[in-house]
Amino acid sequence: MPNPLELPQGVLDLLLLKTLALEPLHGWAISQRIQTRTTGDVQVQQGSLYPALHRLERKGWLKTEWAISENNRRAKYYSLTPAGRKQLRAEEAEWLRLALAVSQVLGEV
């Protein structure tokens, strides 16, 4: 397996928001989801998952509640707030524009 990708600044937030847009998840599940979705190319960096989640929560984009996981364990579930959805739309559009611009440049070479 090749080395996982280093995420550029800010992209982790976008991935987290997008992942949680479908359904509420707990921390472990979020990291697993990102890993499987990207077929292992993106691994959430050591020690950055929870600070990032807490940061998003503080910004009012995520809300949390304790619930029972599929493995019958108590876990803290994160889900998007309306503000979080708005942020996701904005960041998504931004990212797509950037990705398009970058691939255009690369295509020309």
């Binding site: 921390g27 599940a29 929870y50 600070p51 807490h54 929560e57 996981s69 493995n71 364990r73 876990a75």
Partner: protein
């Protein structure tokens, strides 16, 4: 997360921690359940602690944690440098204590509002007048006929209230034989309702107690007097006491906190103004102050115009009674004296007028000493920070932020400030009453309410923050700008850091000089004043104040005097209307027919034969005075009188006229000059006239009695008191001793203000010198420590001792000299402001300049010698090896 949640989290540290731990635990469990190893699962947390710190929820919590550990560390640091910390705390405590004490005194005397409803509406009626000597003055006393006209005319703008000066009166409670003293005030009955005051007990005075002169013998006592004198006895109502010819009944207790209008002399007993029956219709007897309590919404300007108009008309009328030789300009000037309604929310008193200026000067001295102390502590902390440079550099290199270093040093500073303030507060609790005691004559103590109120607490908090900012911020910035690379490498440029310290030394020297210079002026003034020639000999002279009930025949007084003269231990004795230098006076305008004289009135004093001898005032010419010479209408004048009114003509045998009456007096002798009322003025023209001055043989003295002046043959004249009291009690049942005081006490009172300034000035000068010396020592010592390598090398290369001494001290001493000179220059320039408080000294006298310079030079020498010796004894070999 809302701000509230963040704030609340501060207090839910445990819960948040648990929440976080739970979350992490559940993460690991999930990972394990999905077949990962424990290590693999943990990897996604990274460092557990790091996670905790960077987790935004916990940011404040971390800050608090840091604060706690910095606090502990600071305490440890202060403890480690015990001596330096103690020196810093003590010097600051002294200075802040002095500041707190000054605040207590200044606030209580000058600023705390009178405790009534809307004190800002209180104004005092004053007249700007010209004193006898031509200087401008303020006259605040009124006569009742004028008050009546004014209060009617001004009633739309303000309510006029007459309130007399608090006098120490003799009163006797029913059932007790002893007379006692109480501050006694006549007050308009409607003052209490106007001020919206509620009685603590019984009732207060009202408009109804103001009806007819002498007909309302009721009294209200102050709350503090009630507690002090009667232990807050609820059965006090109805109690009777005698004052002069009236018997009053106590009808109520004033509310707590209202002690009359005179800060410094709180009133004990209030009686209706009309009870001073003789004063109600008396023209020319000014005996109370007129207060104007503005109506809500009324214009002060309008009130002022009305008051001016009433005053002009009244005084115009008065000039019609003036003797013919008064010029029309003098009359116009008299009638048009400008009225000023002075805002006096904090009351108005002679203590205020007398001590306003000295207190402000003390406050300035205190501020200077405080700044010196702050500069000292700043230097000390800077030096300590420099000595800790390695520790600080290490902190930076392992990841401490600049803010964190700033915080560390500021916490240390505020700990020092806090300790100093607490220590200072206890110093102030002692010092403020002490200062009050030093300005209190024994028979008329200055009393101020010095309780701790919100104003004092606010001041203390501001003071703490202020001094922390002054001495803490510089070292903190210094510490936070530490450069780890250069420090750990073994040293920065040694010069950069000392520039600031040197500047502080210059500032300190300047302030120290200023304090010393002013202290010198005050000490010299007090010295000159206390050695000022009096013109009489106060040693062993005792003043007996005799209260007499009613006007007694002259023979009663003579009999009393003879009894006193024959008392063992009495060398000589005489009668006088009042003692000399008692800040009491009796003046009448006079003129000598045919001679134009300066526009001022001489002082008068009624004396019996033997008075000049008892006081030790020599007669200049003529044979000895016989008893029969002192016939009514005779006068002995002093040299100044002869000079002023007789213009060099021999006055003996000539007469002078009393203006405004048909009376003439014949001069029988000339006496040497003696001070009469105030030591600070030139010898005043004085006429001594017979004590028994009236033709009908009755002594009429508005002061209700007189004084016996006696010179004792024993050193401790006060020991005669019991015998004298018994003698007088046996002689006449209508006379008794109201007071007995050594003459020297009256003279001390005159120089009390000067004594206070001299004592406190000397104290602050000493403190300033010590602090500056400590500061200088610290800076020199630090310089030597910092440059020890350089000095060692120079020594090794054979530099002579003089050279090293020069290198170590030259710049600092130059800064010191510059500072001191600047301080002296400011001092000389500022001394003009002190002129009214100085006596017999000029700021440009060479002694005034030389003494503070010498004091600072001595302090400098003491402070500089140990560090210089240390510099000379650096062992180069040892020094270089240690590095």
């Amino acid at each position: 997360m809302s701000l509230w949640t963040k704030f609340a989290n501060l207090f839910r540290k445990g819960q948040i921690q648990r929440d976080l731990d739970d979350e992490l635990a559940s993460h690991i469990e999930e990972a394990l359940a999905n077949g990962r190893t424990d290590a693999e699962a943990r990897r996604s947390f990274g460092n557990h602690t790091n996670l905790r710190e960077s987790s935004q929820d916990l940011k404040l919590l971390t800050a608090l944690d840091n604060l706690k550990s910095d606090f502990t560390f600071s305490l440890r640091q202060l403890w480690k440098n015990k001596v330096a910390s103690a020196a810093a705390i003590l010097s600051l405590a002294l200075a802040t204590g002095a500041a707190q004490a000054s605040f207590r005194l200044i606030d209580a005397l000058l600023f705390r509002p009178i405790q009534i409803d809307s004190p800002e509406r209180l104004h005092l009626f004053t007249l700007h007048v010209t004193n006898q000597d031509g200087s401008p003055g303020i006259n605040d006393s009124c006569e009742y006929p004028f008050f009546r006209i004014l209060s009617k005319a001004i009633e739309n703008e303000a309510q006029a209230l007459a309130i007399s000066y608090p006098g120490r009166a003799d009163i006797t409670y029913a059932g007790t034989p002893e007379m006692e003293k109480a501050f006694f005030v006549y007050i308009s009955g409607d003052a209490f309702p106007a001020f919206h005051l509620q009685a603590a007990l019984g009732r207060l005075l009202t408009q109804n107690d103001n009806r007819s002169p002498g007909a309302h013998p009721v009294a209200v006592i102050s709350h503090s007097y009630w507690q002090r004198r009667f232990a807050a006895d609820p059965g006090i109502l109805g109690k009777k006491f005698r004052h002069a010819e009236n018997i009053y009944e106590i009808v109520g207790v004033a509310p707590q906190g209202f002690n009359g209008m005179d800060p410094g002399s709180p009133t004990d007993i209030f009686v209706p103004i009309v009870m001073n029956a003789r004063g109600i219709d008396a023209r020319g007897w000014t005996w109370f102050r007129t207060w104007l309590f503005l109506k809500p919404g009324a214009s002060l300007q309008r009130a002022q115009q009305v008051a001016q108009a009433v005053s002009n008309a009244y005084r115009e009328e008065q000039t019609k009674g003036f003797p013919a030789h008064f010029s029309s300009e003098m009359r116009t000037k008299y009638a048009r004296q400008p009225v000023e309604l002075v805002a006096a929310a904090a009351g108005y008193s002679s203590t205020q007028q007398r001590y306003r200026e000295p207190l402000w000067i003390l406050a300035i001295l205190v501020a200077l000493v405080l700044l010196i102390a702050c500069a000292n502590v700043a230097n000390l902390m800077t030096a300590q920070t420099a000595a800790r440079a390695r520790e600080l550099a290490l902190r930076v290199s392992i990841g401490a932020g600049r803010a964190r270093l700033l915080q560390l040093v500021l916490i240390e500073s505020s700990l020092v400030a806090l300790a100093a303030i607490l220590l200072g507060a206890s110093f102030a609790t002692w010092a403020a009453p002490y200062v009050l005691g030093r300005i209190s004559p024994s028979f008329n103590p200055v009393q101020l309410d010095l309780h701790t109120d919100y104003r004092f607490i606010a001041f203390t908090i501001l003071l703490t923050l202020g001094i922390t900012a002054i001495f803490g911020i510089l070292p903190a910035i210094r510490a936070s700008s530490v450069k780890p690379a250069s420090v750990l490498k073994g040293g920065d440029s040694p010069h950069s850091k000392r520039r600031l310290m040197r500047a502080l030394i210059a500032v300190q020297a300047g302030f120290c000089m200023l304090v010393n210079f002013n202290a010198g002026l005050f000490l010299a003034s007090f010295d000159r004043l206390s050695h000022h020639p009096l013109g009489f000999k106060p040693e062993r002279v005792v003043v007996l104040h005799i209260s007499a009930q009613g006007n007694l025949p002259a023979t009663d007084w003579d009999l009393l005097l003879n009894r006193v003269r024959s008392t063992p231990g009495v060398e000589s004795a005489a009668l006088a209307t009042m003692p000399l230098i008692a800040s009491d006076s009796w003046g009448q305008d006079v003129h000598v027919p045919g001679i134009k004289h300066p526009d001022r009135s001489p002082s008068f004093l009624g004396v019996s034969p033997g008075w000049l001898e008892t006081m030790g005032i020599p007669l200049l010419r003529g044979s000895d005075l016989r008893t029969t010479d002192m016939h009514p209408g005779a006068a002995i004048v002093n040299e100044a009188f002869a000079r002023y009114y007789f213009k060099g003509i021999d006055p003996v045998g000539k007469t002078f006229e009393i203006d405004g009456s048909k009376q003439t007096r014949k001069t029988i002798r000339i006496a040497a000059d003696a001070h009469y009322q105030r030591l600070r003025e030139p010898m005043p023209p004085t006429a001594y006239v017979p004590f028994h001055s009236s033709q009908d043989g009755v002594v009429r003295n508005p002061r209700q009695g007189g004084t016996i002046i006696l010179r004792s043959s024993v050193p401790n004249a006060l020991a005669l008191f019991p015998t004298l009291r018994a003698t007088i009690a046996q002689t006449n049942s209508r006379m008794f001793i109201a007071n007995l005081l050594p003459q020297s006490e009256f003279i001390e009172i005159q120089s009390m203000r000067e004594r206070l300034l001299a004592e406190l000035g000397a104290f602050f000068a000493a403190v300033a010198l010590i602090l500056t010396a400590i500061g200088l020592y610290g800076v020199l010592d630090y310089g030597v420590y910092q440059r020890r390598r350089e000095l060692g090398i120079r020594r090794a290369l054979g530099a002579p001792a003089v050279h090293l001494t020069w290198r170590v001290s030259a710049q600092i001493l130059a800064m010191l000299a510059i500072g001191a000179m600047a301080g002296l220059a400011i001092g000389i320039a500022g001394a003009k402001l002190l002129e009214s408080l100085l006596f017999g000294v000029k700021p440009s006298d060479w002694q005034m300049l030389a003494i503070p310079l010498a004091a600072i030079a001595c302090a400098t020498l003491l402070a500089a010698v140990p560090p210089i010796l240390r510099a000379l004894h650096i062992d180069p070999a040892k020094m270089l090896r240690a590095e």
